[in-house]
Symmetry: C2
Subunit: 182 residues, 2 copies
Amino acid sequence: MTLPILLAISGSLRAASSNSAVVAAARALAPPGLEVVVYEGLGDLPHFNPDLDTETPPAPVAELRRLVGAADVLVISSPEYAHGIPGVMKNALDWLVASLEFPGKPVGLINASAGSVHAQAALEEVLRTMSAELVADACVTLPWTGAKPDLAQLVETPELSNLMSVALAALARRAAGTAGET
Amino acid sequence: MTLPILLAISGSLRAASSNSAVVAAARALAPPGLEVVVYEGLGDLPHFNPDLDTETPPAPVAELRRLVGAADVLVISSPEYAHGIPGVMKNALDWLVASLEFPGKPVGLINASAGSVHAQAALEEVLRTMSAELVADACVTLPWTGAKPDLAQLVETPELSNLMSVALAALARRAAGTAGET
């Protein structure tokens, strides 16, 4: 039996990123019955250029679309840069706008910083415009305002891990539903 | 005598981009006494990664910062993708956030499409957060709702060229002021 798949995307390329820690924690905290695939290709995508979006798009773009198509649900954890979505994160979404794989995809958003309100709101607007299905119970902001949490803190601090588990459970329910439908 | 410099940035990599046409039109319509430099390096920038932002940043980043530092004023014309700033445009701004060259820089925004309201608002929020000085008279939306305008239409349609000229005159005044101060 194939398990439903959650594709987890960090919006940061920084090695010590708290968003990448969220993605790693999602794998650690995911309920049984949900396979978590971590997207590693964000930095390999070319800059979006409509002229390159032909029948044979660049290989990293094709790979992103393949992973999105194979996933039942997505989760994104993105930092905020200057009150906006990081360019590199938006660039991945720009490549998905015109794709066949993205519309209707259920998406959760795990915000790693309570101080970042603009990027989360901007992501919700962009994702809605892209016809994603925002999974309300999986769009959460971790109540963390100090130095950015690392993987150990995310997994071991109950107020963080509990909130992540609630979000992941919502995605697992949605993924099970999607998997059942297809 | 060195003329004040306007650095003009298109937020699109598309060959037939109306935003790149705006940038070209800015050069054609600029008042005497303002040198227009068109930024050509957007697609050469690496994806922003704080770990790469060391004392010797990647060469395209150093070049962008040099051009921004040498400019008295900036003008940006950006498309809107999925109700957001294009990733490739935001990526350039992400590299300027922590730069010494950007804060306080006067910036105009020429929106090539009356239907694009989200990206213009998001750019204003991001640029304010980056401590840019938004030049109010140079933040305009061209009243154009049909097929995207090309260079000839921008220069030859009075309702477009007049609005661009007003914006460019405001930037020229601001550039002259800046040049005088330094």
